[in-house]
Amino acid sequence: MGDNTLVLGQRLSEWCGHGPAPEEDIALANIALDLIGQTRLWLDLAGNREGLGRDSDMLAYHRNPWDFKNLLLVEQPNRDFGVTMMRQFLFDTWHLETLRILSHHTDKDVRGIAQKSSKEVTYHRARSTNIVIALGDGTEKSQLRMQSALNRLYPYVGEMFMTDKDDLIDMAALRPRFDAHLSATLNKATLTKPESEFYHKGGKTGTQHSEHLSHILATMQSLPRSYPEAKW
């Protein structure tokens, strides 16, 4: 969970100062901020449970790409605003369903972070859903771009519902609610779900990240790795 929010938060922050409108710029920066805040909670907990004295900064800045367990979807480049918002919509939809279930987890720390995060993510999903609808059901050009964004990113959806030994919950069980929100939204957005259910995998297990992860980590980690004693 922490690696997903970290990598996506970092990705979204690349938009800061480049948004298509001031409101969108501010919104993306705020969402990135929420995600980075959630990262701190998740990775501090992970470090605490690991018991080796690593905190969230240590885990964020001093691990190599193959140690990251984020979904392939979140490391995909921003490309245009349409791709960014489609990626956000797919992630938010999955994220909210995951947090809803984790909000009832038996571990009270996990439950606490999930309950806190789901309040924020409710707003994220409402916004990305509205934008996908507005741009999909927009002009001919915006519709085309949103459809091509969906075609590009849909092959990263399947991985979100794979369950492995690190998962606290059965991820496949979240698929029906995800699919329901997806089809309702695509329907309103006049977009068509690609026919092929093929999907890439290897992000959440860390075995086969795309080349994009190394680049984003290089940007994010270069300062603390070059100057390990650097302080704010």
């Binding site: 409101e23 969108e24 501010i26 919104a27 705020n30 969402i31 990135a32 901020l33 929420d34 995600l35 980075i36 805040g37 959630q38 701190r40 909670l41 009270k108 439950r111 606490g112 972070i113 309950q115 806190k116 995060s117 309040k119 924020e120 409710t122 707003y123 409402a126 916004r127």
Partner: protein, 155 residues
């Protein structure tokens, strides 16, 4: 300097004078982020809950609590971060909501939208963006006086 150890109710009163760093019109108590104040032996423990996980004001809030209490003579202080139960706008005081509106920010409402324009009180409003100048606010506009304004989102 404080003579002896102040009671926790006195400390609550002191914190009612500490403004929120982002919205100085309201205090930290109005915002509802101070959850508990306890003495643990000779150390004062203040439990603070963040509004949003990534809110940059969180560290500033902690700093202001430290500064305010140290000015009152508290020497041993620990700040405890508590995220569960999560902060909710229901914890904002009624006085705080009134101060927010007077300051030009529409207070949170469970309906998810502001009641009226904080300037001209018109009910004819439209949303500009779900996110405003900070994660806790959305941007709205009044269709009568045409002024944009911040709305404190209900979470």
């Amino acid at each position: 300097m404080v003579e002896g150890r102040p009671s926790t109710s006195v400390v609550w009163k002191w914190l009612a004078d500490v403004p929120d760093p982002e919205i100085p019109a309201i205090s930290l108590l109005d915002l509802g982020v101070i959850r508990d104040i306890q003495w643990r032996a000779d150390t004062l423990e203040v439990t603070v809950t963040p509004t949003y996980s990534g809110c940059p004001a969180t560290s500033l809030i902690n700093f202001q609590i430290e500064a305010a209490l140290s000015a009152r003579g508290i020497q041993k202080l620990t700040l405890k971060r508590q995220i569960a139960p999560p902060w909710t706008t229901d914890w904002m005081s009624d006085a705080g909501c009134k101060k927010l509106e007077a300051y030009g920010i529409a207070p949170p409402r469970s309906t998810g939208s502001p009641k009226q324009c904080p300037r001209c009180k018109s009910n004819s409003l439209e949303e500009i963006s779900e996110f405003g100048s900070t994660p806790c606010k959305a941007q709205w506009r009044c269709k009568d006086c045409l002024e944009p304004f911040d709305y404190f989102k209900c979470i």
